[in-house]
């Protein structure tokens, strides 16, 4: 069953706790950023709007990074749909980061390998899937949720989630941006 994140931009206050929680749990060095919060602004004074989005690997259905990898280091796990990279096979060529539309794959200067959000499945520190991810656990406002897409669909914002995770939809992202449909329209 495909797993992914649910993100509610209305709740996110861009505190960056998710980034640091991700780094600490997965013991990621300074440099690669598996998760990053970005702010998008629009409008002109005094009619200004902004939106925060916490971005990480989307664990795509038809993952462009996997398709781009020349050594097949990236796989999509059959049982949970997570897109993971085998560090022993990766040659650090960076094709995946060119292919990814979200800039999720991050090249580690230290190891010379690609790394990215693995849904807290770092070897030796795997969080069982019935637990919250580190980013989710730490979020002060409850903006991030993780789980199977089916479960996420049932938690709030059901209609949008249902639509995005429709079975016939190829390449559906493993994220549901819990938002009104048009940015900023209140």
């Amino acid at each position: 069953m495909q797993h992914g994140f649910y993100f509610d931009h209305k709740r996110c206050v861009k505190c960056h706790a998710c980034e640091i929680a991700c780094k600490t749990w997965n013991e990621v060095e300074i440099g690669p950023r598996w998760r990053e919060v970005v702010k998008i602004e629009s409008g002109t004074f005094p009619n200004v709007k902004s939106m925060n989005v916490s971005m990480a690997c989307m664990h795509c259905g038809d993952a462009p990074c996997r398709n781009a990898c020349p050594v097949s280091a990236i796989t999509k796990r059959a049982d949970d749909g997570l897109v993971v990279v085998d560090q022993n096979t990766c040659i650090g060529c960076g094709f995946c980061s060119w292919a990814c539309p979200f800039n999720a794959p991050q090249l580690s200067a230290q190891a010379g390998k690609m790394e990215k959000c693995n849904f807290c499945q770092t070897p030796g520190k795997e969080r069982p899937l019935d637990m919250p991810r580190a980013c989710e656990e730490i979020c002060p406002t409850g903006a991030i949720k993780s789980g199977s897409m089916a479960d996420l669909s049932n938690q709030g914002r059901e209609r949008a989630a249902e639509r995005l995770s429709g079975a016939d939809m190829r390449g559906f992202p493993g994220i549901v941006v819990g938002a009104q449909e048009q940015f900023g329209g209140d």
Binding site: C15, H16, I20, T24, P46, P128, M131, E137, P140
Partner: protein, 704 residues
């Protein structure tokens, strides 16, 4: 298993092969209870304590990254004594703790004999265990001058709350609110009580309207239903005009004001006499009179509601009355201490960690410094006036300064004047984690343990009464010692060692906990004690002179001031030569001056910047992402510019202005960003003694 599951921590500890210990974080003063995961004397993960109401399992970026402090190689490891002349950047040699205690005790005795104990002052920002220094320097030694850092923080708010409600630090019951009006308060963007942030977002999801009045489109304004871009330093005018609308249109709570407010009728006359109408406020605030009226009506008729301030309405010489006016909106609408209002929280009956007998307590002969300085209503030392006492002996000489976990050389305005003080001190002691910019000016620098290496029991920053516990989870860095051991060491040299009879922290912990309905053992297991959340304490009587909410302030009357809030212009107004007004706002991923040596936080945000509206940017040739020069009449800095839309034209917003541009502290912090406080001259709020960081005009140009 969800994030609030109490067993989650145990399972995570198993995965990490770590031991989980309940503690709290003291990176910022909100002090979230935590679960800390330790393996081989190293913190491998941290999360929030899911049972604690303060944060419900969550953390902020600063707290999550704080494990680094416990292993930072740049930390102070040994007591250090200055070897060169005062006034020069300090050179230091390592000494033993015994030598350090002897040095300080000898100086303290000399100063008491020569100048009197009142000439010793202590200030702190982070006040971990500062109470121990108070027992030594206040109770036994006899100095009345034990202060914190409030004049660089929410001094005007604190003063307003004390004068109106007799309460030092009301909380915000966002969860039950239907209308929240925040004045210059960026509670979602700066240091934050995480339970408040979550409650505000959840209230909004349930339909609570959020109005943010601020020249800056802050992180909080971004979440608002309505952003009111007010001219800087004019909050008082807007709040008074809203009060007048509410009163004129009889939208106030008549029963509440007649029973529970002092001076309502006089206030009504005062507003009329002064002509504080929406039409009068329109040009001052840059907000249409009709909009002022609409906001006033909405606020008065949507209940429960809350009008609240923190720092932004202060930082000006008129901030004291602005603060009072913002809270009077709550008072006249009867919206105080009910569910959904500002909450006059109860404090836990936490005791002192040591019992100094009455007979041993030395009564000071002189008034506390703030009173002698002419600021009797200041809730904390007017920091910006300390140089008068140290350099000029006015109102009386200060000869020794203990600077505890704070860095006034960077945090106070007019850096040069702060630095000048140290030449005139006979004893300057820095109690610190790092060789900070202030440490460099001191005579002796003592390495304190971080909160990961020491115990602390203190009041929790939550809606109800609460006690929280910090436990030592790793070994101290170098020879660093916690405050309770440093104080004991000095006290022994002064002949007062018997007043500090503890051998281990649990000994004083038991003493402090004696009136709390929980044992120290239980507290270690659970991490906190929380009492009942209460509301509606106004009818019970408040600790003000009248026992009521004082719209007419007896404190102000006694100090020879107008008991009703007035509006006066701020002091520094931009002109042709310096056409831009300085404003400030903080960042959420850094705490003041203390987190810039943390590479994990510096990766997220590695320097500070100035924001400028695109209209002004075009006028002055400033380009987004490039460097610019900000010049005030006093100094200039080079800093990164960000061109934004969310800022009132005519203003700049320096983000985290005094937290960056370190020239000491550590290898990661040093030289990153710009330190902006020397742009400002010394301006002190005439009533509260607050530092007026925003009393500053500048011009700006692109850096070449």
């Amino acid at each position: 298993m969800n994030v609030m599951d109490r067993n989650l921590g145990e399972r995570l500890a198993e995965i990490k092969g770590a031991k989980m210990i309940k503690s709290f974080c003291y990176t910022c003063p909100w002090q979230c209870p935590t679960e800390v995961f330790v393996r081989d004397d190293k913190i491998v993960y941290q999360k929030g304590n899911p049972e604690a109401p303060n944060n419900i399992g969550s953390r902020c970026a600063k707290g999550m990254a704080s494990w680094y402090v416990s292993k930072d190689p740049d930390r102070l490891k040994y007591p250090m004594l200055r070897t060169n002349a005062k006034g020069e950047p300090g050179q230091f040699k390592r000494i033993s703790w015994d030598e350090a205690f002897e040095f300080i005790a000898k100086k303290l005795k000399e100063i008491a004999d020569h100048w009197g104990p009142e000439s010793v002052a202590l200030t702190c920002h982070h006040d971990p265990n500062t109470v121990f220094y108070h027992h030594l320097l206040k109770d036994l030694y006899g100095s009345p001058n034990m202060y914190a850092h409030t004049s660089g923080c929410e001094q005007d708010r604190r003063s307003a709350c004390l004068d109106l409600f007799g309460h030092v630090f009301p909380m915000h019951d966002f969860a039950n609110s239907k209308y929240v009006m925040l004045w210059g308060m960026n509670n979602l963007g700066a240091n934050q009580g995480l339970w408040e942030s979550r409650a505000l977002m959840e209230a909004k999801a349930k339909g609570c309207r959020l109005v943010v009045i601020d020249p800056n489109f802050t992180e909080t304004a971004q979440k608002a239903d309505e952003w009111v871009p007010i001219q800087p330093g004019t909050d008082g005018a807007l709040a008074l005009a809203m009060c007048k609308t509410i009163i004129d249109e009889k939208l106030y709570d008549e029963a509440f004001v007649s029973s529970h407010c002092e001076g309502f009728t006089g206030f009504q006359d005062h507003l009329s006499e002064k002509g504080y109408t929406p039409e009068w406020a329109e040009d001052i605030c840059g907000i249409d009179a009709e909009r002022i009226k609409r906001l006033a009506r909405e606020f008065a008729t949507t209940k429960p509601s809350m009008s609240a301030i923190f720092k932004g309405s202060g930082y000006y010489t008129n901030g004291h009355d602005a603060g009072r006016a913002c809270y009077i909106l709550d008072a006249i609408c009867g919206e105080v201490d009910k569910p959904g209002n500002i909450n006059l929280k109860d404090w836990a009956p936490l005791g002192a960690p040591v019992n100094i007998p009455e007979t041993a307590i030395k009564q000071p002969e002189k008034e506390p410094l703030h009173v002698a300085m002419g600021y009797p209503l200041a809730p904390d030392l007017p920091n910006s006036r300390l140089p008068d006492a140290v350099i000029n002996g006015h109102p009386y000489p200060i000869k020794a300064w203990f600077v505890h976990a704070s860095n006034p050389v960077m945090s106070d305005p007019n850096r040069e004047r702060v630095q000048e003080m140290f030449k005139n001190l006979e004893l300057a002691v820095s109690l610190e984690l790092y060789m900070s910019e202030t440490s460099l000016e001191c005579d002796i620098v003592l390495p304190e343990t971080s909160f990961h290496e020491q115990a602390e029991i203190r009041q929790g920053m939550w809606l109800g009464p609460e006690v929280i516990l910090c436990q030592p989870v790793v070994e101290p860095v170098g020879e660093a010692k916690p405050a309770y051991e440093i104080v004991k060491g000095i006290a022994q040299k002064m002949g007062w060692g018997h007043h500090f009879p503890y051998e281990k922290w649990e000994d004083w912990g038991e003493v402090a906990m004696k009136d709390i309905p929980m044992t120290l053992g239980e507290l270690k297991e659970k991490g906190f004690w929380a009492g009942e959340v209460r509301y509606n304490r106004v009818p019970e009587g408040l600790p003000t002179a009248s026992g009521k909410i004082e719209i007419y302030s007896k404190n102000y009357e006694n100090a020879g001031l107008n008991p009703y809030p007035e509006y006066t212009d701020r002091t520094v107004i931009p002109d042709d030569e310096y056409p831009l007004q300085v404003t400030h706002s903080k960042l959420s991923m850094h705490c003041n001056i203390v987190t810039q040596n943390n590479p994990y936080l510096m990766e997220v945000c590695g320097e500070n910047w100035v924001e400028i509206n695109s209209i002004d940017a075009a006028k002055y040739g400033i380009r987004d992402g490039e460097r610019c020069i900000i010049e005030s009449p006093k100094d200039n800095i080079e800093i990164l510019a960000k061109v934004v839309e969310g800022l009132v034209p005519g203003c700049i917003s320096i983000r985290h202005g005094h937290g960056f541009g370190h020239w000491a502290m550590g290898s990661t912090a040093k030289g990153k960003g710009a330190h902006s406080n020397n742009l400002m001259d010394t301006h002190t709020n005439p009533v509260t003694g607050a530092n007026c960081y925003n009393e500053c005009k500048v011009r700006i140009r692109q850096a070449i």
